[in-house]
């Protein structure tokens, strides 16, 4: 049997088995999910690369699935993160109700994502896309809180996106009567696709919804927050990247091979690319601003995810080799660090009961490993050397400047600076500050939860010094997209202006400094020091009492919020609320056609009959 089909079959049948096994034991679904993903991963990594294609003819349509080098990059992300998240979920979901439903949908959405990146025809792409959408919807509403605001909004926006895609698919179909992506690319090259501009715009609209681009992002913060953390890691880490994958498919793969003399292509690549990039930049800026004022760590991360996807979109939309590389690098990194952060917040939520930063503090001693992974991923998120986030940002800035988008650099720089603020807030709000009595009982999360986070944190550290490990698969993937000979080095970054950054040098320096400081403190601590609690302090010459907490967590960024308050006044959600209220009124008005009165209905029949007779006799 075909390996690719087998992997999908394992995931989908694993989903059903997991769903049914809940009846047997509460513990079983998580185990089955873990085993299925492990099996799929083993199968993927032990098979030679050329077996991953698969053709199927059904219902008068031809379905083609194939994993090429570009999809392979995404498959690494999907399988890697899902595997770690499912390991984490074994501990995280322990003793929760309705685990069967959770793991059923988790496996389905993972299978859906694999199907999406493997799809080489638009119908199977759409089928897997929809499976991914509804299974993730069921996980978003899994906790059951706020079904209307979170669940329905997610589903409505997803449906809008999906139907825009479907519309585009149908336009393409009406032109060339095929769904096969390779044939579509060929048709574009021969200018046989009159609806190219409309179809591309609609496809990009659909993908923007999943990538949570302004102004279609309103579903994302709530959905990311509501989903259980073990899934949010996948959701924000790779599922949202499916939007990026789609954009790459349209902008880079489908249009790249096209005839450059075709006006509409220039239009799409230039004009629409610029618009998309700007939307990405604005998304990054605004989502960052909103992330700053959140008090719930998970929601903060949700907004941060939206912002990060903004950056990634910019790179894809600009479309130069460097920007695409930067963007894909950031995409993988985002999966790693945001995956870790969501898992870490899940651990905090499980152990301390909440992720509200105004309620908990000083968990560093209670959950040291969680603190460690949070620290590593936050450094990565903020883009500070020696971790890998720096590399991605560096390349993105260079790509934007060389492409002439100087204003965009300003916006991106602003939001990436502001990202420092909210990253710090997570670290401080949850782990630092004084310990509270309420959190005294908190223990570190079990090993099965710590291990995946630590693995990802170590990967982040490694990539900070050796980004080339990741450049290699990215460059291979970009070859498929038509970017030949992308140059990269294992540990050195260089730009067009002749500057080079030796990452090895940086990390060695920092490492040495770290070890030296550690040694110094440990040795010095040997004598003449005593163990103190976090409340054993004096401030301004006064010694605060035991119950007085000096950690300031409420109104953390009060001065900033005051300064930026005009920016928060306009909310996209309000526009959508007004729209839905307006539609509601319209629907109510329309519904009144059905009066419930038999005589009125009879009158309708007569009027209709007469009108139709007159119309027909006069026109046909």
């Amino acid at each position: 049997m075909n390996t690719l089909a087998l992997i999908l079959l394992i995931l989908f049948s694993g989903a059903i088995v997991a769903f049914l096994s809940e009846k047997v034991s509460k513990f079983l679904p998580s185990l089955i999910a873990f085993i299925s993903i492990t099996a799929a991963g083993i199968l993927f990594y032990t098979s030679p690369a050329d077996v991953f294609n698969f053709k199927l003819s059904m219902a008068g349509l031809n379905f083609t699935l194939k994993i090429d080098e570009f999809s392979r990059l995404f498959v690494h992300m999907i399988i890697g993160l899902s595997w770690l998240a499912s390991m984490y979920a074994v501990g995280y979901m322990q003793n929760k109700e309705r685990q069967g439903t959770f793991f059923f949908n988790m496996l389905l959405s993972i299978g859906g994502m694999l199907g999406i990146v493997a799809a080489r025809d638009l119908v199977s792409f759409f089928v897997f896309w929809e499976i991914m959408t509804w299974s993730s919807f069921l996980i978003v509403v899994w906790t059951g809180a706020d079904f209307r605001r979170t669940g329905i909004w997610y589903m409505v926006f997803s449906a809008m996106g999906a139907y825009a895609m479907l519309m585009a698919i149908m336009m393409i179909y009406s032109d060339i009567h095929t769904f096969n992506i390779d044939e579509i690319i060929a048709a574009i090259a021969e200018q046989r696709l009159p609806h190219l501009v409309e179809a591309s715009v609609l496809l990009l609209f659909g993908f923007s919804v999943k990538a949570a681009l302004m102004p279609l992002h309103v579903w994302a913060p709530n959905a990311y927050t509501q989903a259980p953390a073990a899934y949010t890691a996948i959701f924000s880490g790779v599922l949202s990247k499916m939007g990026i994958f789609g954009m790459a498919l349209v902008l880079l793969s489908m249009l790249k091979f096209a005839n450059p003399a075709d006006f509409s292509l220039v239009y799409i690549n230039g004009f629409i690319g610029q618009i998309l990039a700007w939307l990405g930049a604005i998304t990054a800026a605004i989502a960052t601003l909103y992330a700053l004022i959140q008090t719930d760590a998970k929601k903060l991360l949700a907004y941060s995810s939206v912002a990060q996807l903004g950056y990634i979109t910019i790179g894809i939309a600009i479309g130069t080799p460097l920007s695409v590389m930067a963007s894909l690098f950031l995409a993988v990194l985002h999966a790693l660090f945001k995956g870790t952060l969501f898992l870490a917040m899940g651990a905090v939520e499980r152990q301390a009961g909440t992720t509200d930063m105004t309620k908990i503090s000083g968990l560093i001693r209670r959950m040291p490993w969680t603190f460690f992974v949070t620290l590593v991923s936050i450094i990565s998120l903020a883009g500070v050397p020696p971790l890998a986030g720096f590399v991605g940002k560096w390349m993105l800035y260079e790509a934007l400047i060389t492409n002439g988008n100087v204003f965009m650099v300003v916006v991106v720089f602003f939001s990436s600076t502001a990202a420092f603020l909210y990253s710090y807030r997570i670290l401080f709000g949850i782990f630092l500050g004084q310990e509270e009595d309420d959190t005294a009982h908190v223990k570190e999360a079990p090993l099965s939860m710590i291990l995946p986070m630590v693995v990802m944190a170590l990967l982040l550290i490694a990539l900070g010094t050796y980004p080339g490990l990741l450049f290699d698969p990215i460059a291979q993937g970009m070859t498929v997209l038509g970017f030949e000979n992308v140059t990269w080095q294992m540990t050195v970054l260089s730009n067009v202006w002749g500057n080079t950054v030796n990452l090895m040098y940086i990390s060695t320096t920092i490492g040495v400094a770290f070890v030296a400081a550690l040694l110094f403190l440990t040795l010095k601590g040997r004598k003449g020091s005593r163990n103190v609690g976090t409340k054993d302090i004096s401030t301004s010459g006064e010694i605060p009492l035991e119950h007085e907490n000096l950690t300031y967590q409420l109104d953390f960024f009060k001065p900033f919020e005051r300064a930026a308050s005009p920016l928060y006044r306009r909310k996209m959600t309000k526009i959508y609320d007004d729209l839905s209220n307006g539609l509601d009124a319209l629907f109510d008005f329309t519904r009144k056609i059905y009066t419930g009165n038999g005589q009125t209905y009879a009158l309708y029949v007569v009027i209709f009959l007469v009108a139709l007779l007159i119309y027909v006799q006069n026109t046909l």
Binding site: I152, L166, M170, F587, T590, T595, G598, L609, Q617
Partner: protein
């Protein structure tokens, strides 16, 4: 004795006579005999479909009178599809309602007889080759449907039945008038012969006849603005009857429309009008559905909306579009069936049948709620359920006809559809039950019926080839009417 199409009509009529007599001896026979009849329908459908695939269209003359004078029954892929679908839905409904306690006091003998007549009449519509005979069967269906609508005693049921009666009488009148005009102009009532003679009718009269058919049959197939009766009828009839209305009765109306428009006339004459009517029907019905507070009314409007899309596909008129229309009808029958069946028990003891009363039912009825949710997912067209494919084929047919603005509108109202179905699912799963209604757990028979439909939805969704070949053959037969006409007319000449 070999099985022929006439068994579809003769057997239930005989059974209907036997039931009152036999039930004097044993009460249960009133329930069992219709079940036997439905089982026999399944056998007939199976045997005849095999025969059609071997030897082509079957045409049978009744009582020795040859075609122009006597009535003939025609059974090909197209009619066979409808007859089989109706038999299956009829059988499942019977099985489902076997222990469904319909009225507390009254023995439900009339329910089973009416159900049987409803299905028989609908099958009669699809297998007859005579336009007047079709009218008669339409009347049989209508009368059974009125009675089932007012089955529960009380004002609401009577009111709904009265509205239905009022509007349906327009339908009968118009169809009868159209048949009359046809007869005076061509001197025949045989559909095959009519199709060779309609070009003799003067254009303006022909258009008038067509308009009468559109309006008359439009009432039966729930076209806007002729469908005022439908929501009341669906919501007042017993829940399993909702499944029959959606899966059998409306299908009869649509079949008649297709037969008249494609075989007797040329679809291009009325295609545009049907297309636009279908679109308006869909939009208004879906919009009305989202404002409903009663589950069954919501399902009724949703049915109307689906029929609007089917009518659009008919209006497009290509073979692919007909295929899509048939696929949509198949899906609509099985999915709406599942939705009505699960609702039947979920709201069994509720008086108001509002959505609010479904709060938290998933805790008490996990399987039923799952079935409802599955139906909701399938009917809004999410893959991998069967509803997705029919939607895809419809869109492909529409794209071929370059109807992009219509595709956009249909997709836009699909979002509305998602909202109102998922809202109900949300209420079922994510709200706390606030009061404890006395519940009734479904029996094994009901579980079997729902399980079968769910398996069909998933099976066809995962592997649509289960039925597509069959539907393609039916669509081909309808859009290429020569074989139908030839088969009937050769018999006539002989």
């Amino acid at each position: 004795m070999s099985i022929t199409p006439v068994h579809y009509i003769a057997v239930p009529l005989a059974a209907a006579f036997l039931i009152p007599i036999l039930s004097k001896f044993h009460k249960e026979t009133a329930r069992i005999i219709p079940g036997l009849v439905f089982s026999y329908f399944l056998v007939i459908s199976f045997v005849l479909m095999r025969q059609v695939s071997n030897t082509g269209i079957i045409s049978e003359t009744i009582a020795g009178w040859r075609a122009p004078w006597g009535i003939n029954l025609v059974f090909g892929y197209f009619s066979g599809f409808f007859a089989t679908l109706m038999s299956v839905i009829g059988f499942l409904t019977w099985l489902y309602s076997y222990r469904f306690k319909l009225v507390d006091s009254k023995p439900a003998m009339s329910y089973y007889i009416l159900l049987m007549m409803l299905v028989t009449g609908s099958i009669g519509i699809v297998i007859t080759g005579d336009i007047f005979n079709m009218f008669v069967f339409l009347e049989i269906v209508a009368i059974s449907a009125f009675s089932l609508t007012s089955f529960y005693p009380g004002r609401d049921g009577a009111e709904a039945a009265f509205k239905y009666l009022l509007i349906a009488s327009f339908s009968s009148f118009l169809i009868l008038l159209a048949v009359l005009l046809l007869y005076t102009q061509t001197g025949t009532l045989n559909i095959a012969e009519l199709s060779t003679k309609v070009h003799l009718i003067p254009q303006s009269l022909k258009l008038t006849i067509l308009v009468m058919f559109v309006v008359g049959l439009g009432i039966e197939s729930e076209l806007f603005p002729l469908n005022g009766w439908a929501p009341d009828a669906y919501s007042q009839a017993p829940a399993p009857v909702g499944a029959v209305f959606a899966g059998v009765v409306v299908k009869g109306g649509i079949y008649a429309t297709m037969r008249v428009m494609f075989t007797m006339f040329d679809i291009n004459e009325m295609g545009q009008i049907l297309l636009i009517l279908g679109l308006i029907t869909t939009i208004i019905a879906e919009v009305a559905a989202i404002k409903q507070t009663q589950v069954k009314r919501m399902l009724a409007y949703s049915s109307i909306g689906q029929m609007g899309v089917v009518m659009m596909a008919i209006g497009i008129g290509t073979e692919d579009a007909v295929f899509a229309a048939l696929f949509m009808m198949f899906n609509h029958a099985i999915i709406k069936g599942l939705l009505f069946f699960s609702t039947g028990f979920l709201l069994h003891n509720s008086l108001t049948k509002t959505i609010a009363e479904m709060k938290g039912v998933a805790k008490k009825f996990p399987v039923l709620s799952f079935m409802f949710a599955l139906g909701s997912f399938a009917i809004v067209g999410l893959p991998p359920f069967s509803g997705f494919w029919s939607k895809l084929y419809f869109l492909m047919a529409a794209a071929d006809a370059k109807l992009f603005s219509m595709i956009a509108l249909v997709l836009a109202v699909s979002i509305v559809e998602i909202v109102y179905y998922f809202r109900v699912v949300g209420v079922m799963y994510y709200h706390q039950p606030d009061e404890s209604l006395p519940t009734k757990q479904p029996g094994l028979n009901a579980y079997f019926v729902m399980g079968f439909l769910a398996a069909l939805i998933i099976g066809v969704g995962v592997y649509p080839d289960l039925i597509t070949n069959f539907l393609h053959a039916a669509a081909y037969e309808l859009t290429h009417k020569t074989e139908y006409v030839q088969t009937v007319l050769t018999q006539f000449v002989r």
